[in-house]
């Protein structure tokens, strides 16, 4: 048997207290939002650590940036100028289209809109646990980030904010195995649930009947029905469909359109739920999209 020899009074009571406290914390964390206060205050301590962990990578890219040749920069500059021209031309058309869209919606008495507030952030960390797909970004509650906010990159939806610290926030990616959101096929409006698989670069449509009109190459866009993500952003592209007669549903694999493993800057946009809310107001539940799947 263990011969317990302590220098202090028996710490068994302390252990008991720690175990009870820890268990209560775990239960509260799973069931309620109250302990977010603890997370937020410890966040003051963890934020500098996250920023420091980002430092080596940031210095690396700074050095590569410094070491680039003049001609490379000229080339890139020229390319960006060309890209800008193309985008500006598109934006010109967009203004007209948007005005027309608003007019038509007014005619239809529909109040939904696409335009939302946007906040840019930089990715400063990646979740070290390989079984979870999460990112840390350099904006927190002091910048107005809130739980459930949608995160995009230049080419598609990336995920949602699940934890907010004072100066950092944690983003759950759409490829995480516990993530799901409502999408529709851009071509014909067929709706389905898009779930993560835990593997980078693969997401899967759930409960798709064998007869559903979905083809390889179809673009999946967010519907906004989950009350979390804004409507109409590209999410993924269908890459493979398998029909198995013994299975009740078809297996549809898709690839996220966002550059999940390459993005360094992201955009935070307000979802449909927040358009009517005042700044700083928080919904009490994170919504159906974060429900645990078993």
């Amino acid at each position: 048997m263990l011969n317990l020899s302590f220098e202090t009074p028996n710490p068994g009571y302390r252990l008991l207290l720690a175990l009870v406290l820890g268990t209560v914390l775990m239960l509260l964390d799973q069931r309620t939002e109250q302990v977010q206060v603890i997370r937020h205050s410890v966040g003051y301590l963890t934020a500098p650590v996250h920023y420091l962990a980002h430092l080596p990578g940031a210095m690396g890219s700074w050095v590569t940036g410094q070491a680039r040749s003049r001609s490379d920069l000229f080339d890139e500059n020229e390319q960006l100028a060309r890209q800008l021209l193309i985008l500006q031309q598109r934006v010109q058309r967009l203004a007209v289209l948007e005005a027309e869209n608003t007019r038509l919606r007014e005619l239809l008495n529909s109040s939904s809109e696409l335009d939302t507030g946007v906040l840019a952030a930089e990715i400063i960390g990646i979740e070290p646990d390989p079984s979870r797909q999460e990112l840390i970004i350099n904006k927190g509650s002091h910048d107005g980030v809130y739980r459930g906010q949608a995160v995009l990159d230049a080419s598609g939806l990336l995920g949602q904010v699940v934890d907010v610290g004072p100066f950092t926030a944690r983003v759950l990616l759409i490829t995480d195995a516990s993530h799901a959101l409502s999408v529709q096929v851009n071509r014909n409006g067929v709706r389905a649930i898009l779930a993560g698989t835990g593997q980078l670069g693969i997401v899967r449509l759930l409960f798709v009947p064998d007869t559903a009109d979905i083809e390889e190459g179809d673009l999946l866009v967010s519907t906004g029905l989950d009350q979390l993500f804004p409507r109409g952003y590209p999410v993924a592209e269908v890459v493979r469909i398998e029909h198995d007669r013994s299975a009740p549903f078809a297996r549809v694999d898709a690839r996220p359109t966002a550059h999940i493993d390459r993005a360094s800057h992201v955009l935070l946009v307000e979802g449909p739920r927040h358009l009517g809310l005042r700044v700083g107001e928080q919904p009490d539940d994170p919504g159906p999209a974060t429900e645990e799947r078993r």
Binding site: F6, L19, L21, G22, D29, L45, G125, R132
Partner: protein, 163 residues
């Protein structure tokens, strides 16, 4: 025992912060599977070195810090590190006189216990993809790093007069 004035709390806290920094430093995927449990190792060292000061509550605090740092369930690492601190506290006298190899084995068991406890919690909330055997790899790497870390932390303790 002789009453001594406690000093050097700042140095202890900074070693924990540095351990947290090492715990989230980006690593290639292949190496990330064997990432050592830095916070557990640092906690074990301080418990053995200063059992009258660093104990179960330090473990709880360090665990809570790790929970927020890695975004796990609040209390997951807090409970695990409390238990590790308690066991280390219970056998700190023997650990001090153990041969290096014996120490490495005990550290392996301690880190493994902590990781398994936190694995159980993680599994209960459905956030594990790998089988529990993978817990052994970080524990093994941690045990191998014990002696070098021990030397570094002992230097820190003497240099900053932590008592």
């Amino acid at each position: 025992m002789r009453e001594r004035k406690a000093s050097g709390t700042g140095a202890i806290v900074i070693t924990f912060l540095l351990a947290g920094w090492l715990a989230i430093l980006p690593l290639p995927d292949a190496l990330a599977l064997g990432r050592p449990e830095w916070l557990t190792l640092v906690l074990i060292y301080w418990v053995i070195a200063l059992p009258h000061r660093v104990g179960v509550f330090w473990g709880f605090g360090a665990g809570l810090f790790q929970d927020v740092l890695t975004g796990s369930v609040l209390g997951q690492h807090a409970v695990a590190l409390s238990v590790v601190a308690y066991i280390a506290l219970a056998m700190h006298k023997r650990l001090r006189v153990f041969l290096p190899l014996q120490q490495v084995v005990v550290v392996f068991l301690l880190v493994g216990t902590g990781s398994l406890l936190s694995y159980i919690v993680q599994n209960a909330v459905g956030r594990t993809l790998l089988p529990p055997v993978w817990v052994l790899l970080p524990a093994l790497v941690s045990a191998l790093l014990w002696r070098p870390l021990f030397a570094v932390l002992r230097w820190v303790r003497h240099r900053f007069l932590v008592r």
